[in-house]
């Protein structure tokens, strides 16, 4: 092998190795190298998301009646399958808020397990505020929400997992 060939093999081989190492975006030395890469010699390919979303994070809520009985669970932003959604889809904002807020609440609760602090966070307040405004009954005393993960269609044997359940939140101070 001639010297130029060997040089090319080393240079391009190194570029290939660094390019490959840069894709996960986890190695500090690659990040440092990339910061100095003014000519964009180390490409970052983003054809695929590193964590493709295959789970659906959904929020359910239920109502506690005066007297203490709990009602069934209701989905906060149920999916609506309709062609009309292509042109008129106002519920999309609520669903987007749910999918954005739920993971944030999970993380806050996960890192503050014995604290009520997450209850003061904006995502939690947004969800509770929306929940108490949903139609219920005049007999309701309090409401509670749960964050669950599902996968695929809602069939009987489809995966379903509880991730978090909130405290009950009274609907009003004077509605005991």
């Amino acid at each position: 092998m001639s010297a130029p060939t060997l040089l090319c093999a080393v240079v391009f081989g190194a570029m290939l190795a660094v390019t490959v190492a840069a894709q996960p975006r986890r190695f500090k030395w690659v990040r440092r190298l990339k910061e100095r890469d003014a000519g964009a010699w180390i490409p970052l390919w983003t054809f695929f998301a590193p964590n493709p979303g295959v789970n659906d994070t959904r929020i359910l809520w239920r109502e506690q009646l005066v007297g203490g009985a709990s009602g069934p669970w209701h989905e906060m932003a149920p999916p609506h399958r309709s062609l009309v959604r292509a042109v008129w889809n106002p519920d999309n904002r609520v669903r987007k808020a749910v999918t954005d807020c739920a993971p944030l609440i999970l993380r806050l609760v996960g890192t503050n397990r014995d604290s009520l602090l997450p209850m003061l966070s904006l995502p939690y307040l947004m969800i509770v505020q929306h929940m108490v405004g949903l139609p219920g009954s005049p007999l309701g005393r309090a409401r509670q929400f749960a964050v669950v993960n599902t996968q695929g269609e809602d069939t009987e044997d489809a995966p379903f997992q509880l991730l978090m359940m909130s405290h009950w939140h009274r609907l009003a101070e004077d509605r005991e």
Partner: protein
């Protein structure tokens, strides 16, 4: 003030004044559960229909009989017939009737009924009138077990010999989606504390991707590390994914949170947050 608004104000205050001058007769209304696989628009899933009137009134008889058979569709039909008759009667009387002031109109009512559950008002102002022998009101209901004995129908009459009034509560539980049904079966009934599960559902697609990546020798542990970091606290990843960066004074916050009721209303929570932000304890 517009005439219609004034009429509303007079009516609401007039009804309360009228009820205050009457004798109250309490009874336990009949609680009936109905269901149907077919749509019943007049009595949708997740509603309580309160029917009150003379026992011989068509609405009370027909709706009661249908409800005792548990047939939501037949109840909805009875309600529909009542609505049609009421509209027809109202159209006939529209031109002939001289409008009475609310206080006089209320005084003519033989009975006015209110329904409560554990002393919490459910419906008020169901009256019997010489031309309207029964009324119904549909109220939304999120579902749950109701105790028949906890309901009370209070009928306000001028004297104890007033015509008997029968009150029915026709309950149709909400229809649940497959997900809601599954939640009802799998989620704990009595659970009121925050809990986070550490594991997620199997994520097959990333596992396949990770396996492919592993084969070419790159970032074999990436998925696992990412997963571990999110759920077990890698500070670097958490910083980008919603940590409590708004927290300013942790000790002071802990002290303030000691007095916070976990069942606080959203109003209380928002007020506490606003107050902490105003004090600079929370961003």
């Amino acid at each position: 003030m517009r005439d219609d608004v004034k009429l509303l104000v007079d009516s609401v205050s007039g009804l309360a004044e009228e009820v205050a001058t009457r004798v109250r007769l309490d009874q336990t209304p009949e609680l009936l559960e109905v269901e149907s696989a077919e749509p019943a628009p007049g009595l949708p899933g997740g509603s309580i229909c309160v029917v009150s009137g003379k026992p011989e009134a068509a609405l009370v008889r027909e709706a009661g009989e249908a409800a005792r058979h548990g047939d939501a569709v037949a109840v909805a039909r009875a309600l529909e017939r009542f609505d049609a008759d009421l509209r027809a009667a109202a159209d006939e009387d529209r031109e002939a009737a001289d409008r009475l002031p609310p206080e006089k109109a209320f005084a003519e009512l033989p009975s006015i009924t209110a329904v409560s559950y554990r002393d919490k008002p459910l419906v008020e102002g169901l009256f019997v009138h010489p031309q309207v022998d029964a009324m119904y009101v549909n109220v939304p209901f999120a579902g749950g077990a109701l105790e028949a004995e906890a309901f009370r129908a209070s009928t306000y009459v001028r004297e104890e010999e007033a015509p008997p009034v029968e009150t029915l509560l026709i309950v149709r539980q909400p229809e649940l989606s497959p997900l809601e049904q599954k939640a009802l079966e799998q989620l704990p009934e009595a659970f009121d504390q925050v809990k986070v599960e550490a594991s997620f559902l199997p994520i097959w697609a990333p596992i396949v991707v990770a396996a492919g990546v592993f084969l070419i020798g790159i970032a074999a542990g990436y998925e696992l590390r990412q997963h571990e970091a999110i759920f077990h606290g890698d500070p670097e990843i958490k910083a980008n994914r919603g940590s409590l960066s708004e927290l300013v004074d942790e000790a002071e916050l802990a002290r303030r949170l000691e007095g916070l009721d976990p069942e606080a209303t959203v109003k209380t929570l928002v007020e506490l947050r606003a107050s902490l932000m105003a004090e600079g304890k929370l961003r």
